[in-house]
């Protein structure tokens, strides 16, 4: 344990402040080092005090986080407000429910890129042998309408939605040879894909979640082991202005 050095003669106010802060950080009572679990919660409460600064990754925690002695001291010096909701849930509040538990994901391929999306956001997949009916005046990523059973599905060019118009619009775009369509839960939209690969279980702590999604809100995270992007379909499809 390091002890605070005796301060030199204090002349300037800033210097005095620096010395004071340094003293706070250095003087750790021996007894506090034994504390392990409770201060860990205090650290999470600290996140609640500053809700604007969300972490890059969602703290999906299966065990108590490790806390350094310095962090413990810092928490002791901070006047914490007792949160009504645990900090962990607070941080996850902008995430969909399915992201908080192990979920089944459908892995599919779009333009050589493997993507995953939770099964809960889909109703079914279909194989089609006919082209959707093109509606004039719509964006190029809206491939048209398709009557399938009792649903009228708006078929979307997943390539363009994900890669943007520049990369998604290939010269053969008019004749995009898609065969499979992922139908959304509300059966209003279909996302075309090249191939459906598999269904697998994904654990939340195996995902690097994107909690700040001002840009590309549909890209919700990445499966760490496979480096597969997880797509939040609800954010990828447009909101119908009518119907």
């Amino acid at each position: 344990m390091t002890q605070a050095k005796p301060p030199p003669s204090i002349v300037h106010q800033q210097l005095a402040l620096d010395v004071y802060l340094q003293t706070l950080l250095d003087e750790v009572p021996e007894a506090d080092e034994a504390v392990s679990v409770k201060p860990a919660i205090a650290v999470e409460r600290l996140v609640v005090e500053e809700p604007i600064k969300l972490p890059d990754t969602v703290p999906v925690v299966t065990s108590s986080p490790k806390v350094s002695s310095k962090a413990l001291v810092r928490n002791r010096q901070t006047k914490l407000v007792e949160p009504e909701i645990p900090a962990k849930l607070q941080a996850l509040s902008i995430m969909p429910d399915w992201s908080q538990y192990e979920f089944q994901a459908l892995f599919f391929k779009v333009d050589k890129l493997i993507l995953a999306t939770p099964l809960i956001e889909l109703s079914r997949t279909i194989k089609i042998d006919r082209k959707p009916t093109k509606i004039p005046g719509q964006p190029s990523w809206f491939l048209g309408l398709l009557d399938e059973h009792d649903s009228r599905i708006g078929v979307l060019d997943t390539r363009q939605l994900i890669f943007g118009k520049s990369r998604g619009m290939q010269p053969d775009s008019e004749e995009y040879p898609f065969e499979r369509i992922l139908i959304t839960q509300d059966k209003k939209w279909g996302l075309v894909c090249d191939e459906i690969l598999s269904i697998g279980k994904v654990k939340p702590d195996g995902v690097r979640w994107r909690t700040a999604r001002q840009k590309k809100p549909w890209l919700i995270g990445t499966v760490i082991d496979e480096l597969t992007a997880i797509i939040d379909v609800k954010q990828l499809v447009p909101h119908r202005k009518n119907s």
Partner: protein
């Protein structure tokens, strides 16, 4: 269906025509006649969606390139091509289509609104869609096919 319901759900007739793989419908009440393709004289400085003008029994009628208007690739005319003469807001115009198919009847309740994911302006003339013989029929509102400014411009030709 009861008589009351029938009155609230009128039968409408639609002239259907084809452009590429899709079939479209326009209100039969606005169709004056259907012409085989004749010589269309280009108009210098006209917008891209204007093919030119024709002489229809002494009246000059502007012909619209419907493929261009609908964002479809252009196609050479052939024996099946037709110019459908329509009336919209007291303007007589012709629209060039790949072929004219038939006249179909349908109730207003059969028409569903098409999803609009683009800007309102680009697809304002799409009245709705309906299923017909395992195909979707796209219904076009001819009154919104051209804007007021565009109609005024056509009068200058």
């Amino acid at each position: 269906m009861s008589e009351d319901k029938k009155q609230g759900d009128p039968i409408m007739q639609w002239v259907t025509f084809c452009l590429g793989d899709e079939k479209y419908g326009i209100n039969v009440m606005q169709v004056q006649e259907v012409l085989r393709i004749t010589e269309i004289a280009p108009v210098p400085g006209a917008p891209s969606y204007v093919l030119g003008i024709i002489n229809l029994r002494g009246n000059v009628v502007t012909v619209i390139d419907t493929r261009n208007r609908f964002g479809l690739p252009s196609k050479d005319t052939d024996d099946a091509s037709r110019v459908v003469i329509i009336e919209t807001d007291r303007h007589i115009i012709g629209i060039l289509v790949d072929s004219v198919a038939e006249v179909v009847e349908m109730r207003a309740s059969e028409i569903e609104t098409a999803p609009n994911v683009g800007n309102e302006e680009s697809s304002k003339y799409i009245q709705g869609v309906t299923s017909r013989d395992n195909h979707l029929l796209i219904l076009v509102d001819l009154n919104k096919f051209l804007s007021d400014d565009e109609k005024a411009e056509l009068d200058m030709f």
